[in-house]
Symmetry: D2
Subunit: 161 residues, 4 copies
Protein backbone atom coordinates (compact mmCIF):
# COMPACT_ATOMS: atom_id res chain seq x y z
CA UNK A 1 0.00 0.00 0.00
CA UNK A 2 1.39 3.37 -1.00
CA UNK A 3 0.90 5.74 1.89
CA UNK A 4 0.24 9.47 1.57
CA UNK A 5 3.03 11.78 2.75
CA UNK A 6 2.51 12.95 6.33
CA UNK A 7 3.50 16.57 7.03
CA UNK A 8 3.29 17.96 10.55
CA UNK A 9 2.32 21.54 11.36
CA UNK A 10 3.39 22.57 14.86
CA UNK A 11 2.43 25.82 16.50
CA UNK A 12 0.81 27.39 19.53
CA UNK A 13 -2.78 27.09 20.65
CA UNK A 14 -2.75 30.80 21.39
CA UNK A 15 -1.62 32.40 18.13
CA UNK A 16 -1.55 35.81 16.45
CA UNK A 17 -3.78 36.52 13.42
CA UNK A 18 -0.89 36.40 10.94
CA UNK A 19 0.22 33.05 12.36
CA UNK A 20 -3.28 31.65 11.94
CA UNK A 21 -3.43 32.91 8.36
CA UNK A 22 -0.08 31.34 7.54
CA UNK A 23 -1.08 28.06 9.20
CA UNK A 24 -4.29 27.87 7.20
CA UNK A 25 -2.38 28.45 3.97
CA UNK A 26 0.11 25.78 4.96
CA UNK A 27 -2.70 23.29 5.65
CA UNK A 28 -4.31 24.11 2.31
CA UNK A 29 -1.01 23.56 0.55
CA UNK A 30 -0.42 20.18 2.23
CA UNK A 31 -3.85 18.90 1.24
CA UNK A 32 -3.45 20.33 -2.26
CA UNK A 33 -0.42 18.10 -2.76
CA UNK A 34 -2.22 15.04 -1.44
CA UNK A 35 -0.48 15.00 1.92
CA UNK A 36 -1.95 14.10 5.31
CA UNK A 37 -1.80 16.94 7.81
CA UNK A 38 -0.45 15.91 11.24
CA UNK A 39 -0.96 18.27 14.17
CA UNK A 40 -1.61 18.43 17.89
CA UNK A 41 -5.36 18.55 17.31
CA UNK A 42 -6.22 21.54 19.52
CA UNK A 43 -6.84 25.24 18.72
CA UNK A 44 -4.81 28.12 17.34
CA UNK A 45 -2.23 27.13 14.73
CA UNK A 46 -3.35 23.51 14.99
CA UNK A 47 -6.94 24.39 14.16
CA UNK A 48 -6.06 26.86 11.41
CA UNK A 49 -3.81 24.33 9.68
CA UNK A 50 -6.47 21.62 9.98
CA UNK A 51 -9.09 24.02 8.64
CA UNK A 52 -6.99 24.82 5.60
CA UNK A 53 -6.39 21.14 4.91
CA UNK A 54 -9.95 19.97 5.60
CA UNK A 55 -11.58 22.63 3.44
CA UNK A 56 -9.24 21.58 0.63
CA UNK A 57 -10.46 18.00 1.00
CA UNK A 58 -7.48 16.62 2.91
CA UNK A 59 -7.14 14.10 5.74
CA UNK A 60 -6.24 15.70 9.09
CA UNK A 61 -4.71 13.74 11.93
CA UNK A 62 -5.02 15.31 15.41
CA UNK A 63 -2.71 13.84 18.06
CA UNK A 64 -4.24 14.93 21.34
CA UNK A 65 -2.55 15.33 24.74
CA UNK A 66 -5.62 14.48 26.84
CA UNK A 67 -7.82 11.44 27.42
CA UNK A 68 -10.80 12.29 25.23
CA UNK A 69 -11.33 12.90 21.51
CA UNK A 70 -13.72 15.72 22.45
CA UNK A 71 -10.88 18.24 22.74
CA UNK A 72 -10.12 17.96 19.01
CA UNK A 73 -10.89 20.98 16.86
CA UNK A 74 -13.74 20.55 14.35
CA UNK A 75 -11.41 20.19 11.35
CA UNK A 76 -9.72 17.01 12.57
CA UNK A 77 -10.89 13.98 10.61
CA UNK A 78 -9.03 11.34 12.64
CA UNK A 79 -8.25 11.74 16.35
CA UNK A 80 -5.35 10.02 18.10
CA UNK A 81 -5.76 10.18 21.87
CA UNK A 82 -2.51 9.82 23.81
CA UNK A 83 -3.31 10.72 27.43
CA UNK A 84 0.34 11.73 27.83
CA UNK A 85 0.21 15.54 27.89
CA UNK A 86 3.38 17.09 26.43
CA UNK A 87 4.93 13.68 25.76
CA UNK A 88 2.58 13.59 22.78
CA UNK A 89 4.87 16.18 21.19
CA UNK A 90 7.25 13.32 20.44
CA UNK A 91 4.43 11.43 18.72
CA UNK A 92 3.61 14.52 16.64
CA UNK A 93 7.09 14.76 15.21
CA UNK A 94 7.86 11.06 14.81
CA UNK A 95 4.59 10.61 12.93
CA UNK A 96 5.54 13.41 10.52
CA UNK A 97 7.96 12.86 7.65
CA UNK A 98 8.73 16.57 7.84
CA UNK A 99 7.62 19.28 10.24
CA UNK A 100 6.60 22.89 9.56
CA UNK A 101 6.92 25.06 12.68
CA UNK A 102 4.78 28.19 12.82
CA UNK A 103 5.26 30.73 15.59
CA UNK A 104 7.39 30.80 18.66
CA UNK A 105 5.87 29.01 21.65
CA UNK A 106 7.76 26.63 23.95
CA UNK A 107 5.75 23.60 22.90
CA UNK A 108 6.73 24.35 19.31
CA UNK A 109 10.37 24.70 20.33
CA UNK A 110 10.23 21.31 22.03
CA UNK A 111 8.82 19.82 18.83
CA UNK A 112 11.56 21.41 16.69
CA UNK A 113 14.20 20.00 19.04
CA UNK A 114 12.64 16.54 19.25
CA UNK A 115 12.29 16.46 15.45
CA UNK A 116 15.95 17.32 14.87
CA UNK A 117 16.99 14.84 17.59
CA UNK A 118 14.96 12.16 15.79
CA UNK A 119 16.13 12.97 12.28
CA UNK A 120 12.93 14.59 11.06
CA UNK A 121 13.47 17.67 8.83
CA UNK A 122 12.06 20.98 10.10
CA UNK A 123 10.94 24.04 8.12
CA UNK A 124 10.58 27.18 10.27
CA UNK A 125 8.00 29.77 9.24
CA UNK A 126 8.17 32.85 11.46
CA UNK A 127 9.32 30.52 14.21
CA UNK A 128 12.40 30.03 16.40
CA UNK A 129 15.47 31.33 14.57
CA UNK A 130 17.89 28.54 15.33
CA UNK A 131 20.18 29.53 12.47
CA UNK A 132 21.00 32.73 14.33
CA UNK A 133 21.95 30.65 17.34
CA UNK A 134 24.56 28.83 15.30
CA UNK A 135 22.49 25.82 14.29
CA UNK A 136 23.70 24.80 10.84
CA UNK A 137 21.90 21.48 10.69
CA UNK A 138 20.91 20.51 7.15
CA UNK A 139 17.63 19.26 8.61
CA UNK A 140 16.65 22.80 9.68
CA UNK A 141 15.62 25.35 7.06
CA UNK A 142 13.76 28.66 7.15
CA UNK A 143 10.90 29.66 4.87
CA UNK A 144 9.42 33.07 4.19
CA UNK A 145 5.98 32.09 2.91
CA UNK A 146 3.50 29.25 3.50
CA UNK A 147 3.98 28.12 -0.10
CA UNK A 148 7.76 27.96 0.32
CA UNK A 149 7.34 26.10 3.61
CA UNK A 150 5.09 23.47 2.05
CA UNK A 151 7.38 23.02 -0.93
CA UNK A 152 10.46 22.62 1.26
CA UNK A 153 8.67 20.22 3.60
CA UNK A 154 7.61 17.90 0.78
CA UNK A 155 11.12 18.04 -0.70
CA UNK A 156 12.64 17.17 2.65
CA UNK A 157 10.14 14.37 3.27
CA UNK A 158 10.95 12.81 -0.08
CA UNK A 159 14.69 13.23 0.40
CA UNK A 160 14.47 11.51 3.78
CA UNK A 161 12.89 8.34 2.36
CA UNK B 1 -17.16 17.30 10.88
CA UNK B 2 -18.70 13.90 11.58
CA UNK B 3 -15.92 11.48 12.35
CA UNK B 4 -15.94 7.79 11.51
CA UNK B 5 -16.17 5.39 14.46
CA UNK B 6 -12.78 4.13 15.60
CA UNK B 7 -12.64 0.48 16.70
CA UNK B 8 -9.42 -0.99 18.05
CA UNK B 9 -8.32 -4.56 17.46
CA UNK B 10 -5.70 -5.69 19.95
CA UNK B 11 -3.85 -8.98 19.75
CA UNK B 12 -0.45 -10.61 19.63
CA UNK B 13 2.19 -10.27 16.94
CA UNK B 14 2.77 -14.01 17.20
CA UNK B 15 -0.66 -15.54 16.70
CA UNK B 16 -2.26 -18.90 15.92
CA UNK B 17 -3.97 -19.50 12.54
CA UNK B 18 -7.49 -19.36 14.01
CA UNK B 19 -6.67 -16.07 15.73
CA UNK B 20 -5.46 -14.61 12.44
CA UNK B 21 -8.59 -15.77 10.67
CA UNK B 22 -10.80 -14.23 13.34
CA UNK B 23 -8.83 -10.98 13.28
CA UNK B 24 -9.16 -10.69 9.52
CA UNK B 25 -12.92 -11.21 9.74
CA UNK B 26 -13.11 -8.60 12.50
CA UNK B 27 -11.20 -6.09 10.37
CA UNK B 28 -13.48 -6.80 7.40
CA UNK B 29 -16.52 -6.25 9.58
CA UNK B 30 -15.23 -2.94 10.94
CA UNK B 31 -14.55 -1.58 7.46
CA UNK B 32 -17.87 -2.93 6.22
CA UNK B 33 -19.65 -0.75 8.76
CA UNK B 34 -17.61 2.32 7.83
CA UNK B 35 -15.38 2.24 10.89
CA UNK B 36 -11.70 3.09 11.12
CA UNK B 37 -9.56 0.19 12.31
CA UNK B 38 -7.10 1.10 15.07
CA UNK B 39 -4.28 -1.33 15.87
CA UNK B 40 -0.68 -1.58 16.95
CA UNK B 41 0.49 -1.62 13.36
CA UNK B 42 2.80 -4.64 13.50
CA UNK B 43 2.33 -8.31 12.49
CA UNK B 44 0.12 -11.19 13.60
CA UNK B 45 -3.35 -10.18 14.76
CA UNK B 46 -2.55 -6.53 13.97
CA UNK B 47 -1.70 -7.34 10.37
CA UNK B 48 -4.58 -9.75 9.86
CA UNK B 49 -7.11 -7.21 11.14
CA UNK B 50 -5.60 -4.47 8.98
CA UNK B 51 -5.66 -6.79 5.97
CA UNK B 52 -9.33 -7.54 6.47
CA UNK B 53 -10.17 -3.85 6.79
CA UNK B 54 -7.93 -2.64 3.95
CA UNK B 55 -9.16 -5.24 1.46
CA UNK B 56 -12.70 -4.15 2.31
CA UNK B 57 -11.76 -0.56 1.49
CA UNK B 58 -11.38 0.72 5.04
CA UNK B 59 -8.97 3.16 6.66
CA UNK B 60 -6.41 1.46 8.94
CA UNK B 61 -4.52 3.34 11.64
CA UNK B 62 -1.31 1.68 12.89
CA UNK B 63 0.04 3.04 16.17
CA UNK B 64 3.65 1.89 16.25
CA UNK B 65 5.92 1.37 19.27
CA UNK B 66 9.18 2.21 17.49
CA UNK B 67 10.75 5.26 15.85
CA UNK B 68 10.11 4.52 12.18
CA UNK B 69 7.03 4.00 10.05
CA UNK B 70 8.90 1.21 8.26
CA UNK B 71 7.83 -1.36 10.85
CA UNK B 72 4.17 -1.00 9.86
CA UNK B 73 2.54 -3.94 8.14
CA UNK B 74 1.59 -3.41 4.49
CA UNK B 75 -2.13 -2.99 5.21
CA UNK B 76 -1.75 0.12 7.36
CA UNK B 77 -2.94 3.22 5.51
CA UNK B 78 -1.91 5.78 8.16
CA UNK B 79 1.03 5.26 10.50
CA UNK B 80 1.33 6.90 13.91
CA UNK B 81 4.88 6.64 15.24
CA UNK B 82 5.16 6.90 19.02
CA UNK B 83 8.74 5.91 19.90
CA UNK B 84 7.45 4.84 23.33
CA UNK B 85 7.49 1.02 23.13
CA UNK B 86 4.74 -0.53 25.27
CA UNK B 87 3.51 2.87 26.44
CA UNK B 88 1.88 3.07 23.01
CA UNK B 89 -0.60 0.48 24.28
CA UNK B 90 -2.28 3.33 26.15
CA UNK B 91 -2.53 5.31 22.90
CA UNK B 92 -4.06 2.29 21.16
CA UNK B 93 -6.93 2.03 23.61
CA UNK B 94 -7.55 5.73 24.21
CA UNK B 95 -7.76 6.28 20.45
CA UNK B 96 -10.38 3.52 20.15
CA UNK B 97 -14.03 4.11 21.04
CA UNK B 98 -14.27 0.38 21.71
CA UNK B 99 -11.66 -2.38 21.73
CA UNK B 100 -11.88 -5.93 20.43
CA UNK B 101 -9.26 -8.19 22.05
CA UNK B 102 -8.22 -11.29 20.14
CA UNK B 103 -6.01 -13.92 21.74
CA UNK B 104 -4.24 -14.09 25.02
CA UNK B 105 -0.86 -12.36 25.05
CA UNK B 106 0.41 -10.08 27.82
CA UNK B 107 0.41 -6.97 25.63
CA UNK B 108 -3.24 -7.66 24.88
CA UNK B 109 -3.97 -8.10 28.60
CA UNK B 110 -2.33 -4.74 29.31
CA UNK B 111 -4.54 -3.16 26.66
CA UNK B 112 -7.69 -4.73 28.10
CA UNK B 113 -6.76 -3.43 31.54
CA UNK B 114 -5.82 0.06 30.32
CA UNK B 115 -9.06 0.24 28.32
CA UNK B 116 -11.23 -0.67 31.31
CA UNK B 117 -9.24 1.71 33.53
CA UNK B 118 -9.87 4.47 30.96
CA UNK B 119 -13.55 3.75 30.42
CA UNK B 120 -13.23 2.21 26.97
CA UNK B 121 -15.51 -0.83 26.37
CA UNK B 122 -13.81 -4.15 25.59
CA UNK B 123 -15.12 -7.14 23.63
CA UNK B 124 -13.09 -10.31 24.19
CA UNK B 125 -12.91 -12.83 21.36
CA UNK B 126 -11.04 -15.97 22.44
CA UNK B 127 -9.07 -13.75 24.74
CA UNK B 128 -8.48 -13.35 28.49
CA UNK B 129 -11.53 -14.64 30.37
CA UNK B 130 -11.88 -11.92 32.96
CA UNK B 131 -15.50 -12.88 33.68
CA UNK B 132 -14.23 -16.13 35.18
CA UNK B 133 -11.94 -14.15 37.44
CA UNK B 134 -14.90 -12.32 38.89
CA UNK B 135 -14.82 -9.25 36.67
CA UNK B 136 -18.44 -8.18 36.23
CA UNK B 137 -17.71 -4.82 34.63
CA UNK B 138 -20.41 -3.75 32.19
CA UNK B 139 -17.61 -2.48 29.94
CA UNK B 140 -16.26 -6.01 29.45
CA UNK B 141 -18.19 -8.49 27.30
CA UNK B 142 -17.32 -11.77 25.59
CA UNK B 143 -18.08 -12.66 21.98
CA UNK B 144 -18.08 -16.03 20.28
CA UNK B 145 -17.67 -14.98 16.65
CA UNK B 146 -16.00 -12.11 14.78
CA UNK B 147 -19.41 -10.89 13.62
CA UNK B 148 -20.73 -10.80 17.18
CA UNK B 149 -17.58 -9.01 18.33
CA UNK B 150 -17.91 -6.31 15.69
CA UNK B 151 -21.59 -5.82 16.40
CA UNK B 152 -21.02 -5.52 20.15
CA UNK B 153 -18.09 -3.16 19.67
CA UNK B 154 -20.09 -0.75 17.50
CA UNK B 155 -22.99 -0.91 19.97
CA UNK B 156 -20.66 -0.14 22.86
CA UNK B 157 -18.95 2.67 20.98
CA UNK B 158 -22.28 4.30 20.22
CA UNK B 159 -23.55 3.79 23.77
CA UNK B 160 -20.40 5.44 25.13
CA UNK B 161 -20.94 8.64 23.15
CA UNK C 1 28.41 1.75 42.65
CA UNK C 2 26.37 -1.10 44.07
CA UNK C 3 22.71 -0.17 43.80
CA UNK C 4 20.01 -1.21 46.24
CA UNK C 5 17.43 -3.69 44.94
CA UNK C 6 14.28 -1.97 43.67
CA UNK C 7 11.00 -3.77 44.41
CA UNK C 8 7.73 -2.41 43.09
CA UNK C 9 4.45 -2.61 44.97
CA UNK C 10 1.46 -2.12 42.69
CA UNK C 11 -2.11 -1.79 43.88
CA UNK C 12 -5.22 0.35 43.85
CA UNK C 13 -5.63 3.83 45.24
CA UNK C 14 -8.99 2.75 46.61
CA UNK C 15 -8.22 -0.32 48.69
CA UNK C 16 -9.84 -2.51 51.34
CA UNK C 17 -8.47 -2.53 54.93
CA UNK C 18 -6.88 -5.97 54.57
CA UNK C 19 -5.15 -4.87 51.37
CA UNK C 20 -3.75 -1.81 53.11
CA UNK C 21 -2.51 -3.93 56.00
CA UNK C 22 -0.81 -6.35 53.62
CA UNK C 23 0.72 -3.50 51.62
CA UNK C 24 2.17 -1.91 54.74
CA UNK C 25 3.70 -5.22 55.79
CA UNK C 26 5.15 -5.66 52.32
CA UNK C 27 6.69 -2.18 52.42
CA UNK C 28 8.16 -2.87 55.86
CA UNK C 29 9.63 -6.13 54.57
CA UNK C 30 11.23 -4.48 51.55
CA UNK C 31 12.89 -1.78 53.65
CA UNK C 32 13.94 -4.37 56.22
CA UNK C 33 15.95 -6.14 53.54
CA UNK C 34 17.55 -2.92 52.35
CA UNK C 35 15.46 -2.59 49.20
CA UNK C 36 14.09 0.57 47.63
CA UNK C 37 10.30 0.61 47.42
CA UNK C 38 8.95 1.63 44.00
CA UNK C 39 5.29 2.58 43.70
CA UNK C 40 2.84 4.86 41.94
CA UNK C 41 3.16 7.46 44.67
CA UNK C 42 -0.55 8.08 45.34
CA UNK C 43 -2.94 6.77 48.03
CA UNK C 44 -4.36 3.39 49.02
CA UNK C 45 -1.98 0.47 48.51
CA UNK C 46 0.71 2.86 47.27
CA UNK C 47 0.59 4.91 50.44
CA UNK C 48 0.35 1.93 52.76
CA UNK C 49 3.39 0.29 51.17
CA UNK C 50 5.34 3.55 51.31
CA UNK C 51 4.34 4.02 54.95
CA UNK C 52 5.58 0.56 55.86
CA UNK C 53 8.88 1.16 54.11
CA UNK C 54 9.42 4.73 55.32
CA UNK C 55 8.69 3.91 58.97
CA UNK C 56 11.22 1.10 58.70
CA UNK C 57 13.81 3.60 57.46
CA UNK C 58 13.68 2.76 53.77
CA UNK C 59 13.88 4.85 50.61
CA UNK C 60 10.53 5.18 48.80
CA UNK C 61 10.27 6.14 45.15
CA UNK C 62 6.88 7.50 44.01
CA UNK C 63 6.36 7.56 40.24
CA UNK C 64 3.47 9.95 39.75
CA UNK C 65 1.02 10.16 36.84
CA UNK C 66 0.40 13.91 37.07
CA UNK C 67 2.45 17.08 36.59
CA UNK C 68 3.18 18.00 40.19
CA UNK C 69 5.02 16.35 43.07
CA UNK C 70 2.27 17.61 45.37
CA UNK C 71 0.09 14.58 44.68
CA UNK C 72 2.62 12.26 46.33
CA UNK C 73 1.61 10.63 49.60
CA UNK C 74 3.55 11.79 52.68
CA UNK C 75 5.68 8.63 52.88
CA UNK C 76 7.38 9.11 49.51
CA UNK C 77 10.98 10.21 49.94
CA UNK C 78 11.75 10.78 46.24
CA UNK C 79 9.13 11.84 43.71
CA UNK C 80 9.35 11.10 39.99
CA UNK C 81 6.86 13.21 38.03
CA UNK C 82 5.89 11.78 34.65
CA UNK C 83 2.94 13.84 33.41
CA UNK C 84 1.85 10.79 31.38
CA UNK C 85 -1.16 9.47 33.31
CA UNK C 86 -1.49 5.69 32.99
CA UNK C 87 1.58 5.45 30.74
CA UNK C 88 3.53 5.85 33.99
CA UNK C 89 2.46 2.29 34.79
CA UNK C 90 5.14 1.16 32.35
CA UNK C 91 7.73 3.24 34.21
CA UNK C 92 6.62 1.67 37.49
CA UNK C 93 7.29 -1.86 36.33
CA UNK C 94 10.42 -1.24 34.26
CA UNK C 95 11.98 0.56 37.22
CA UNK C 96 11.28 -2.44 39.47
CA UNK C 97 13.47 -5.53 39.42
CA UNK C 98 10.45 -7.46 40.66
CA UNK C 99 6.85 -6.44 41.24
CA UNK C 100 4.46 -7.36 44.07
CA UNK C 101 0.82 -6.89 43.05
CA UNK C 102 -1.69 -6.35 45.84
CA UNK C 103 -5.42 -6.33 45.11
CA UNK C 104 -7.42 -6.50 41.96
CA UNK C 105 -7.86 -3.16 40.22
CA UNK C 106 -7.46 -2.61 36.47
CA UNK C 107 -4.40 -0.39 36.85
CA UNK C 108 -2.77 -3.21 38.79
CA UNK C 109 -3.73 -5.69 36.09
CA UNK C 110 -2.13 -3.44 33.47
CA UNK C 111 1.04 -3.35 35.54
CA UNK C 112 1.10 -7.14 35.92
CA UNK C 113 0.70 -7.51 32.16
CA UNK C 114 3.31 -4.88 31.29
CA UNK C 115 5.73 -6.45 33.77
CA UNK C 116 5.37 -9.92 32.27
CA UNK C 117 5.60 -8.45 28.75
CA UNK C 118 8.84 -6.72 29.78
CA UNK C 119 10.37 -9.69 31.58
CA UNK C 120 9.92 -8.40 35.11
CA UNK C 121 8.90 -11.10 37.64
CA UNK C 122 5.55 -10.64 39.39
CA UNK C 123 4.40 -11.90 42.80
CA UNK C 124 0.60 -11.75 43.27
CA UNK C 125 -0.73 -11.23 46.78
CA UNK C 126 -4.54 -11.46 46.87
CA UNK C 127 -4.43 -10.11 43.34
CA UNK C 128 -5.47 -11.25 39.84
CA UNK C 129 -5.37 -15.06 39.69
CA UNK C 130 -3.70 -15.49 36.33
CA UNK C 131 -2.71 -19.08 37.13
CA UNK C 132 -6.39 -20.02 37.06
CA UNK C 133 -6.66 -18.48 33.61
CA UNK C 134 -3.99 -20.84 32.31
CA UNK C 135 -0.99 -18.56 32.74
CA UNK C 136 1.95 -20.83 33.58
CA UNK C 137 4.65 -18.22 33.16
CA UNK C 138 7.61 -18.81 35.44
CA UNK C 139 7.75 -15.07 35.99
CA UNK C 140 4.33 -15.10 37.68
CA UNK C 141 3.97 -16.58 41.18
CA UNK C 142 1.35 -16.34 43.90
CA UNK C 143 2.04 -15.60 47.55
CA UNK C 144 -0.20 -16.07 50.57
CA UNK C 145 1.41 -13.66 53.02
CA UNK C 146 3.30 -10.35 52.81
CA UNK C 147 6.41 -12.08 54.14
CA UNK C 148 6.23 -14.74 51.44
CA UNK C 149 5.65 -12.09 48.79
CA UNK C 150 8.70 -10.10 49.84
CA UNK C 151 10.88 -13.19 50.00
CA UNK C 152 9.80 -14.37 46.56
CA UNK C 153 10.24 -10.90 45.06
CA UNK C 154 13.82 -10.57 46.29
CA UNK C 155 14.59 -14.10 45.09
CA UNK C 156 13.16 -13.30 41.66
CA UNK C 157 14.99 -9.97 41.46
CA UNK C 158 18.29 -11.66 42.24
CA UNK C 159 17.62 -14.52 39.82
CA UNK C 160 16.86 -12.03 37.05
CA UNK C 161 20.25 -10.32 37.36
CA UNK D 1 8.33 13.91 55.30
CA UNK D 2 10.54 16.78 54.19
CA UNK D 3 11.92 15.94 50.76
CA UNK D 4 15.32 16.97 49.47
CA UNK D 5 15.35 19.54 46.65
CA UNK D 6 15.60 17.91 43.22
CA UNK D 7 17.76 19.74 40.67
CA UNK D 8 18.02 18.46 37.10
CA UNK D 9 21.17 18.67 35.03
CA UNK D 10 20.47 18.28 31.32
CA UNK D 11 23.12 17.98 28.67
CA UNK D 12 24.44 15.88 25.81
CA UNK D 13 25.82 12.37 25.96
CA UNK D 14 28.57 13.47 23.61
CA UNK D 15 30.13 16.49 25.29
CA UNK D 16 33.26 18.63 25.11
CA UNK D 17 35.85 18.55 27.93
CA UNK D 18 34.88 21.96 29.29
CA UNK D 19 31.22 20.92 29.36
CA UNK D 20 32.12 17.78 31.32
CA UNK D 21 34.17 19.82 33.78
CA UNK D 22 31.31 22.26 34.31
CA UNK D 23 28.80 19.46 34.69
CA UNK D 24 30.92 17.74 37.34
CA UNK D 25 31.23 20.99 39.28
CA UNK D 26 27.48 21.50 39.02
CA UNK D 27 26.82 18.00 40.36
CA UNK D 28 29.24 18.58 43.22
CA UNK D 29 27.50 21.84 44.05
CA UNK D 30 24.06 20.23 44.08
CA UNK D 31 25.14 17.47 46.42
CA UNK D 32 27.01 19.96 48.59
CA UNK D 33 23.75 21.77 49.24
CA UNK D 34 21.91 18.56 50.05
CA UNK D 35 20.03 18.35 46.75
CA UNK D 36 19.19 15.26 44.75
CA UNK D 37 20.69 15.29 41.26
CA UNK D 38 18.22 14.37 38.50
CA UNK D 39 19.58 13.50 35.07
CA UNK D 40 19.05 11.30 32.04
CA UNK D 41 21.34 8.62 33.46
CA UNK D 42 23.56 8.05 30.45
CA UNK D 43 27.07 9.33 29.54
CA UNK D 44 28.64 12.71 28.81
CA UNK D 45 27.18 15.59 30.78
CA UNK D 46 24.82 13.20 32.56
CA UNK D 47 27.67 11.06 33.82
CA UNK D 48 29.91 13.98 34.73
CA UNK D 49 27.16 15.61 36.77
CA UNK D 50 26.34 12.33 38.50
CA UNK D 51 30.04 11.78 39.21
CA UNK D 52 30.35 15.18 40.83
CA UNK D 53 27.29 14.57 42.97
CA UNK D 54 28.08 10.98 43.91
CA UNK D 55 31.68 11.70 44.91
CA UNK D 56 30.35 14.47 47.14
CA UNK D 57 28.05 11.95 48.82
CA UNK D 58 24.82 12.91 47.07
CA UNK D 59 21.88 10.91 45.79
CA UNK D 60 21.75 10.67 41.97
CA UNK D 61 18.58 9.82 40.08
CA UNK D 62 19.06 8.57 36.51
CA UNK D 63 15.93 8.59 34.35
CA UNK D 64 16.74 6.26 31.48
CA UNK D 65 15.23 6.17 27.98
CA UNK D 66 15.64 2.42 27.44
CA UNK D 67 14.26 -0.77 28.98
CA UNK D 68 17.13 -1.79 31.22
CA UNK D 69 18.91 -0.24 34.18
CA UNK D 70 22.18 -1.52 32.71
CA UNK D 71 22.59 1.57 30.55
CA UNK D 72 22.96 3.80 33.60
CA UNK D 73 26.36 5.36 34.21
CA UNK D 74 28.25 4.09 37.29
CA UNK D 75 27.51 7.20 39.36
CA UNK D 76 23.73 6.78 39.36
CA UNK D 77 22.48 5.60 42.75
CA UNK D 78 18.81 5.13 41.77
CA UNK D 79 17.72 4.19 38.27
CA UNK D 80 14.31 5.01 36.82
CA UNK D 81 13.63 2.99 33.67
CA UNK D 82 11.07 4.53 31.33
CA UNK D 83 11.25 2.54 28.07
CA UNK D 84 9.95 5.65 26.28
CA UNK D 85 13.05 6.98 24.50
CA UNK D 86 12.98 10.79 24.15
CA UNK D 87 9.61 11.03 25.89
CA UNK D 88 11.61 10.52 29.07
CA UNK D 89 12.87 14.07 28.59
CA UNK D 90 9.51 15.22 29.91
CA UNK D 91 9.99 13.05 33.01
CA UNK D 92 13.45 14.55 33.52
CA UNK D 93 12.15 18.10 33.67
CA UNK D 94 8.90 17.47 35.54
CA UNK D 95 10.82 15.57 38.21
CA UNK D 96 13.20 18.53 38.67
CA UNK D 97 12.22 21.59 40.69
CA UNK D 98 14.71 23.53 38.59
CA UNK D 99 16.83 22.55 35.60
CA UNK D 100 20.43 23.43 34.77
CA UNK D 101 21.15 23.05 31.04
CA UNK D 102 24.76 22.48 30.03
CA UNK D 103 25.78 22.55 26.38
CA UNK D 104 23.83 22.83 23.19
CA UNK D 105 22.44 19.54 21.93
CA UNK D 106 18.90 19.07 20.58
CA UNK D 107 17.84 16.80 23.44
CA UNK D 108 18.88 19.54 25.82
CA UNK D 109 16.93 22.10 23.83
CA UNK D 110 13.84 19.89 24.02
CA UNK D 111 14.29 19.71 27.79
CA UNK D 112 14.65 23.48 28.12
CA UNK D 113 11.47 23.97 26.07
CA UNK D 114 9.50 21.31 27.95
CA UNK D 115 10.64 22.77 31.27
CA UNK D 116 9.53 26.29 30.36
CA UNK D 117 6.25 24.92 28.96
CA UNK D 118 5.70 23.10 32.28
CA UNK D 119 6.66 25.99 34.52
CA UNK D 120 10.01 24.62 35.67
CA UNK D 121 12.77 27.27 35.95
CA UNK D 122 15.83 26.81 33.73
CA UNK D 123 19.41 28.01 34.26
CA UNK D 124 21.52 27.90 31.08
CA UNK D 125 25.25 27.33 31.44
CA UNK D 126 27.02 27.61 28.08
CA UNK D 127 23.81 26.35 26.54
CA UNK D 128 21.15 27.60 24.10
CA UNK D 129 21.03 31.40 24.21
CA UNK D 130 17.29 31.90 24.23
CA UNK D 131 17.63 35.45 25.57
CA UNK D 132 19.23 36.43 22.27
CA UNK D 133 16.24 35.00 20.45
CA UNK D 134 13.93 37.34 22.32
CA UNK D 135 12.93 35.00 25.13
CA UNK D 136 12.38 37.22 28.17
CA UNK D 137 10.76 34.59 30.35
CA UNK D 138 11.49 35.07 34.03
CA UNK D 139 11.86 31.30 34.29
CA UNK D 140 14.91 31.36 32.00
CA UNK D 141 18.22 32.74 33.28
CA UNK D 142 21.83 32.48 32.15
CA UNK D 143 24.79 31.62 34.37
CA UNK D 144 28.50 32.05 33.75
CA UNK D 145 29.92 29.54 36.20
CA UNK D 146 28.83 26.21 37.71
CA UNK D 147 28.65 27.85 41.13
CA UNK D 148 26.36 30.59 39.84
CA UNK D 149 24.21 28.02 38.06
CA UNK D 150 23.76 25.95 41.21
CA UNK D 151 22.97 28.99 43.31
CA UNK D 152 20.39 30.28 40.83
CA UNK D 153 18.80 26.85 40.46
CA UNK D 154 18.31 26.44 44.22
CA UNK D 155 16.93 29.98 44.45
CA UNK D 156 14.49 29.30 41.62
CA UNK D 157 13.44 25.95 43.09
CA UNK D 158 12.70 27.55 46.42
CA UNK D 159 10.88 30.49 44.82
CA UNK D 160 8.71 28.07 42.85
CA UNK D 161 7.43 26.28 45.96
Amino acid sequence: MKRAVRIGVMGPGDAAPDELEMAEAVGRGIAGRGGILVCGGLGGVMEAAAKGAALAGGVTLGILPGHSPDSANPYISITVVTGMSHARNLVNVLTSQAVIAVGGAYGTLSEIALALKSGRPVVALKSWRLKEMGCDDALFVDAETPQEAVEKAFQAAEAAL
